[in-house]
Structure formats: C-alpha cells, structure tokens
C-alpha cells in the first residue's frame, strides 16, 4: 500500500524557520517600533520561526535575553532606541553569551556603525526598508555560521 | 459781396476745423498717462487689469491640484514659499480652454485685499499706459451678471480692451477675498466681434451660475476687511482717481531726495519703476534712485532716437532698461583689474580683529564667492577665513560647491588654486573649505556671525523696497568693527542713514552712528 510518504507532495517545502529536528528557531525581537516588531514577526512566523519574546528598548532586550537564555536562537536588534541603543545592548548580550546570534536591523546604514556592530559581535546587519527575502536570507545565514 | 462772404465762410469753417483739430491734438498730448494696465488675452479677446493690482506677471509651472474645488480653481501654487490659489479665468468665464497642455501657463499674480491670487490667462500681452479719461463705462449690452466684473472698456491703438475689476471678481458677497466660494460666470465681454451690438452673443447666454458653496480653494485665508478703494477707474471721478494713482505711484517709487518737478516726468519715472517691479526685474529705492534717474534720462534719449516709446511694455523692455545696472563680472570670475580695486578697498589686516567672517548673500552660482575667496586668501595669508554664501535660486546655488569650468575662463590670478578634473577645472580644497554654500532666503533668519566683509552685489535692488530695508538693517547689525559692505556698483548704501562710503576703489561702505561699531 502506498503511503503519503511514497508520493512527494509538490506543495510541501521545508519551512525555513524550522531546524532539522523539527523544532522551530526561537527569536527575540528588540525594536522600539510596534510596526517593525509586527513586520519582522510576520515574516519570520510565516516561515515557521517561533517568536519567543519582544523588547522595546536595549535594556529590556538584554534582560529578556538573559531571562529566556538558553532558549533564544537568534536576536534581531534595532539600533536607534530610547534608554539604551542597539549597539550597547549587543555588547552586553555578547558579554553574557559569546555565542549569541544577533542580527542588527536598522534604518541607518552608516559604514562605521556596521563595522562597529560586526566587530562587537553581530553576525549580520540589515538596512531598512525590510523585504521578506532579505530578512530570511540574512537570518538563516547568521544561524548557519 | 455774397460770393466772397461764402468763400470766407467756407474758409472760415475750414480754418475753424483746423484749429479745433490742432487743439484736439494738443489736448491729446497734454493728457498724460495716468493709468497703466496689464493687457492679456482670454478666448481671443483683449482684457486688461489695473497694474496697481498686479503684483507680478508670472509663468505657472506645476500646480498642485486641489480636489473638491470648483473647476476653475486650478489648484494651489507655490510662489517662492507662499501658497496661493490659482484661478483659471478661462474656466471661470466659460471660455474655451485650448487643448494643448502647456508646461507653463501664462498668468498674473494679483493682489486683492492683502491676498495674492494667481490668475491663468491665454497669454500676457503688454503693459499699456493710457489716460484714465479714456476709460469708458461698460456697454449696457452686458448682462447684469457680468457687468459688475468690468470696470470699463478702453480703446487703444485700434484695440478694444475690457478692463476687469479683479476685486469684484475675487471677492465674495461677504467681503472675503480668498478665492473660495467663487461662482462660475460667463465671460464678460462681447461675443461675436468687437464693438458689435450683437446682443445674443453677450454674456447672458454664457456660463452657469454655480451655487456658492464653501469651497476649499487652497489655503483658507482669514476674512479680510472691506474691499479697498475701488480701482475701477474712469467711471466718474477720473480726475480724482488719476491724481490718487499718481500720488500712490510716486509714494511707491523712490522716496529719495529731490523728485523732478514736472508731474509728467514724475509719473513716467515712477511708472517705469512699477513696470520694472511688475516684471520682477528691479525695485527702485533710495539705494538705486540716482542710477534710476540717470538711466531714465539715457533711456528716454535712446528710445526717442530709435523712434521707440519710453514705456516698458514687455519683459524684454524691462530687461533692456535694467541691463547696464549690473556690477562688473556678474556671473563670471573677477578680472585682475577688478580684483585689484577690491584689494585696495579691503581693510588692513590689523583693522579686522580675529577671524575673518564673510557674508555673501545672493551669490548666484558662486563666481564672485570663489573670486573673493582667492583674493582674501592671498590678501590675508594668516587669517582664518570663513565665507557664508547663499542664494534663493536652487539651481544656481546647487552648482556652486562643485563648480566646474574651462581653464580659459579663469584669469592667471587664480591658477595656483585650481585643480584639473575630467570635465574641466575646479577649485582646490583649500579654497572650497573656506566656503559654506547655502540654499537660503535672505529674508529669513540666518546664523551668520559678525562679519568683516559683506559682499552683496545687486541683490538689494532685486528685493521689494520693504525687504531692502530689512536686509540693510541686518547688514548694519552684522557688520563688525572695521568691516566693509560691498553692494552693487550702482547701489549707494549711504543713501540710507547709518552708512558712509569708505571712498574705496570699488563701491563700498561702512556703518556710522552711535550704534555703529566702526573704529573710525
């Protein structure tokens, strides 16, 4: 008897946000904009990622990371935020967990900022406006490094 | 003898007729021009508007279309920062609008009760001067609805002009003059041939009377006061109106010393001034009054030799009149002769304390700025120099920071500061870094500190008189001790109080008086 497994489904495609073992990648989104948080969340959850937390400023971001640790696979980090900016938050997260995977997402694309972030330990840097393809590509790239 | 007396009487009649005709001619010559109007065409007919109501003749580029307005409201237009409503008179009067969409429409900016309104027409003709006694009341053939927009009709040189009363057209019943709530009307004026008594053609048949609703025609202006003295002249008190106009004209023109005595001369010069201002070529004021007077004499002679008339009727006329005004090396690098004269006029190094700040409003494309920068660098090798250069013409000022030019256009004097590029030469960084080019309106607040040199050639005369006043006051305040101001070659700052000439090789002034910080 042929089972479903014998017939490859044309429509089936591996959701990119899901690991080999079937678990979803866990994401912490740090951004002071409700809109951006929603936008990133939308893009990622549609590909099977699991958004496990959000934070609206750098300080909150660091706290959330520590709280959720080790159950965060990737952090998306805005740069311009009140209270504590993204680069400072990045620094603290890396200090806490040197293997943290943090991807900067910002409206600013200044060379010196990009360099600094990468030096401090960010895995990648995405400049807004965001498009779905770019976001997924860069986040997966960072996870697979 | 009967025969003799008959001939005598015929001869007498002829002679009488001749005398009458001569007197008529004399009368015509004596009737000096006391009313000027801007003429234009609308649906093939000639119309005119009192020049006193016209702020400017304009070409309208991009409108911003405003929805929910009457169809004749074209939208709003940005007139150098001020948003004004634009009305298409053709649409308003139901006159066919030509099919082709022009990139730029011709029109007038009219002033009604302190508001400016843009008015689109088919084409602007010229400025015509007449005697106000020539204005006839509108022909009774016009239907009621339209007659109120007509001040009168004028025949001039074979053409019949319908003189529109802009105030009536653009003022609502309650006295608001903001372009809102305008009604659509038929065209005033006769259809079917000028002068014809063709009744049917007259406005009555035309135009729908659209309901006056609340229309949002661009900016909602606050309610204005009662309409000012009707300019619709010629109805009755032509003489009085004429006199008023003259007085107004003289007041508007240069208020400098010693106006010529003759009333006719007065009128002509001040009307020249108005035409210049209307064409936005030039604004007479005490600063340039001497030049205007001298130029006017010259112009009169020139024009009568050429058999042309004195009045400025077109933009070309205005430009021709103003042409000799401009300072040497306008829009060009200063030649060595001029550089030398400026150098001799500059204060001594020790007369200028501290850093040398320079203010250069109205710098255009920057030729004079670079010229001055190089001159200052060579004259004061040790000083820290900073030049604030600005202009309101975006296109010109945008090219200034990276000005590129052929080597041939630059005198030897500048050589050491030039660098060669792919498209030509430009100035070396050490000169460029002295200059800050800004897109800036000199009438707005600026952040220029106290300056040792103010270079502003021909700018003042391009500003309306009140603005000239403000800017020169600003110059006075900003000029530091020992500093000099260099206006245009034909601009005399010492016509104003608080300034005196430094007697330099170029036209230059410094401040005097108790508020002055001049060291001399």
């Amino acid at each position: 008897m042929k089972t479903k497994q014998d017939f490859p489904s044309i429509n089936e495609r591996k959701a990119e946000g899901v690991k080999e073992n079937g678990d979803a990648y866990k994401v912490l989104i740090v951004d002071d904009s409700m809109f951006v948080t929603k936008q990133i969340s939308q893009i990622l959850t549609s590909e099977g990622f699991d958004v496990v937390g959000t934070a609206s400023d750098g300080q909150q971001g660091v706290e959330k990371y520590k709280e959720l640790y080790p159950n965060v696979d990737v952090v998306t980090m805005d740069i311009t935020m009140p209270k504590m900016d993204g680069v400072s938050a990045l620094e603290q997260i890396i200090e806490f967990d040197k293997n943290a995977v943090v991807v900067m997402i910002s409206a600013l694309g200044k060379q010196d900022l990009v360099k600094k972030s990468l030096l401090v330990g960010a895995k990648n840097y995405i400049v807004k406006p965001l498009d779905r393809k770019k976001v997924l590509e860069r986040i997966l790239m960072s996870l697979n490094q | 003898m009967a025969g003799e007396s008959r001939f005598t009487s015929i001869a007498g009649t002829i002679a009488q007729a001749q005398r009458d005709a001569e007197r008529e001619d004399e009368r015509r010559q004596d009737e000096h021009i006391d009313f000027k109007m801007v003429t234009f065409s609308l649906g093939g007919k000639d119309y005119a508007v009192d020049i006193m109501k016209v702020k400017e003749i304009a070409k309208f580029g991009n409108f911003t279309y405003v929805p929910n307005t009457m169809h004749f409201v074209r939208g709003v237009y940005n007139l150098r920062g001020e948003i004004i409503s634009v009305i298409d008179l053709r649409q308003m009067f139901g006159v066919p609008v030509p099919d082709e969409e022009k990139a730029q429409e011709s029109g007038l900016i009219v002033r009604v009760d302190d508001h400016l309104l843009g008015v689109v027409v088919d084409s602007i003709d010229r400025v015509v001067g007449i005697s106000s006694s020539e204005i006839q009341p509108p022909h009774p053939i016009f239907a009621d609805v339209n007659i109120r927009y007509i001040s009168g009709v004028v025949e001039h040189e074979g053409r019949l002009y319908i003189l529109l009363d802009v105030e009536r057209i653009f003022t609502r019943e309650d006295g608001r003059a903001d372009g809102s709530g305008l009604e659509s009307h038929g065209a005033p004026g006769m259809r079917g041939g000028a002068g014809a008594a063709g009744a049917a053609g007259a406005a009555g048949a035309s135009g729908t009377q659209a309901a006056t609703g609340k229309q949002a025609a661009g900016d909602a202006a606050p309610s204005a006061g009662p309409a000012p003295d009707a300019s619709g002249a010629g109805q009755s008190s032509a003489g009085a109106a004429g006199a008023d106009r003259q007085a107004g004209a003289v007041a508007r023109g240069a208020s400098g010393p010693g106006r010529p005595q003759s009333a006719a001369a007065d009128t002509d010069v001040s009307f020249i001034g108005e035409a210049l201002a209307a064409f936005n070529a030039f604004h007479p004021s005490p600063i340039n009054a001497d030049w205007v007077a001298r130029r006017f004499e010259e112009w009169k002679a020139e024009r009568s030799r050429a058999g042309k008339e004195i009045q400025l009727r077109t933009e070309e006329d205005a430009a021709a009149f103003v042409h000799p005004f401009f300072s040497p090396y306008t829009e060009a690098f200063w030649g060595e002769d001029y550089l030398e004269r400026v150098a001799r006029t500059l204060p001594d190094d020790d007369a200028l304390p501290g850093n040398l700040n320079v203010w250069n409003p109205g710098c255009g494309k920057g030729y004079e700025t670079y010229s001055l920068a190089v001159l200052l660098r060579k004259t004061y090798p040790e000083k820290r120099i900073k030049i604030w250069a600005s202009d309101i013409d975006l296109l010109s000022i945008s090219t200034a920071p990276n000005l590129v030019f052929p080597a041939a256009s630059v005198p030897e004097y500048y050589r050491e500061y030039l660098v060669e590029g792919t498209n030509g030469f430009s100035f070396a960084e050490e000169i460029k870094e002295l200059i800050l080019f800004e897109y800036h309106d000199v009438l707005h607040e600026n952040t220029v500190p106290e300056a040792g040199v103010i270079l502003s050639r021909d700018l003042l005369s391009m500003l309306p008189q009140e603005a000239q006043h403000r800017v020169t006051a600003d110059f006075s305040e900003k000029l530091g001790p020992g500093g000099i101001a260099i206006p245009g070659a034909q601009e005399a700052l010492d016509a104003l109080s608080g300034w005196r000439s430094v007697g330099g090789a170029v036209n230059a002034y410094t401040t005097v008086g108790p508020s002055s910080r001049s060291t001399t």
Binding site: D32, S33, M34, F35, V36, K38, Q39, Q42, T80, M81, P82, S106, A107, L108, G109, K110, Q111, D112, V127, K128, P129 | G61, N62, T64, N78, R80, G81, I392, L394, I397, S398, A400, P401, L436, F437, E438, Y439, H440, D441, L443, H444, E445, N446, T447, P449
Partner: protein, 158 residues
C-alpha cells in the same frame, strides 16, 4: 540649508516612499520656509544631531496617514485601519525613521557626521510648530495616498 545636505533628503524620501508604498511618487518643487508653520494634522518628527542640530518633520493630514498606514500594513493580517491607532502611528513613525535614516547614511558617505534620535509623532487639530529662528527646507512629496510635506530645519553646529 547647506547645499550638500539637500539631495540626500530628497533622494531618500523618493527611494523609501517608492519602495515601501510600491507606487508612483512625485516630488514637488523645493522651497524655503521660516519659523512657525501650521501642521496638517499628523506630524512625525525625527531629531538630528552631530555636525548639525535640528530635526526633520513629516507633515500630512490624518487621512493621508491612515492611507499610508493601510498600505504599509497590507498583508500583515491586521484589519484595515479606519482610524490612526497606535499601530498606525508606529507605522508613520517608522516611515519617518527610514527616510531620515537613509538620509543620514547618505550624508555620512559624503563625509558629514549626522545622527538621528528616536522619532516622535504628534496628532491634533490646528497644530502649529514653532521653531524660533530656523529656516526650513520643504520637500513636498505626492503619493497616491495623499501629500507629505517633509520639513527639514538644520543649523550648523559651529
């Protein structure tokens, strides 16, 4: 305003609006305005710091703001907004942030040190913004959703 600063703002406004709204974007003529200016109803403000001090103000009617928010939120499984709620405001603020951010990036590439501060949004009737003694560059942008007036007021930091 310094000539070199103009293009980055103009280009960024065009680029970001085009990309985010995916529609026709037309730029009106630039001009200069001084001191206090009436606000159309919704104003998003982003602060500038660094070589200069000042701010960029994005001015539009409430209707335009709602239309823009609707366009940007399209496809995000949210109800189409009919009012300017918190999400709508966050959307407009983000638009302001992106345009200013891209401008600052371009200016940086030209050698100017600019920074931006987190944006704020103001809504209300008959609002007026008064910046004493500052001249502003106005960049009018026309989009299908309405008109946005970008108002840049910058002062060189001596």
């Amino acid at each position: 305003m310094r000539v070199e600063y103009i293009n980055p703002f103009v280009e960024s406004a065009y680029n970001v609006l085009k990309e985010v709204l995916n529609s026709e974007v037309n730029r009106g003529d630039l001009y200069l305005k001084s001191t206090s200016m009436p606000v159309l109803g919704v104003a998003a403000v982003v602060g500038l710091a660094g070589d200069v001090e000042g701010r960029v103000l994005f001015d539009m009617t409430k209707e335009t703001a709602i239309n823009i928010a609707a366009a940007m939120l399209e496809g995000m499984d949210l109800e189409k907004p009919t009012e300017l709620d918190d999400m709508g405001k966050a959307t407009i603020t983000e638009l302001a942030n992106m345009i200013t951010g891209q401008s600052v990036t371009k200016l940086h590439n030209l050698g100017f040190q600019f920074d931006l501060t987190p944006p704020a949004i103001f809504t209300g009737e008959n609002m007026e913004v008064s910046d004493t003694g500052v001249e502003a560059l106005i960049v009018p942008m026309e989009i299908p959703q309405g008109k946005i007036e970008i108002n840049v007021a910058i002062r060189e930091r001596s």
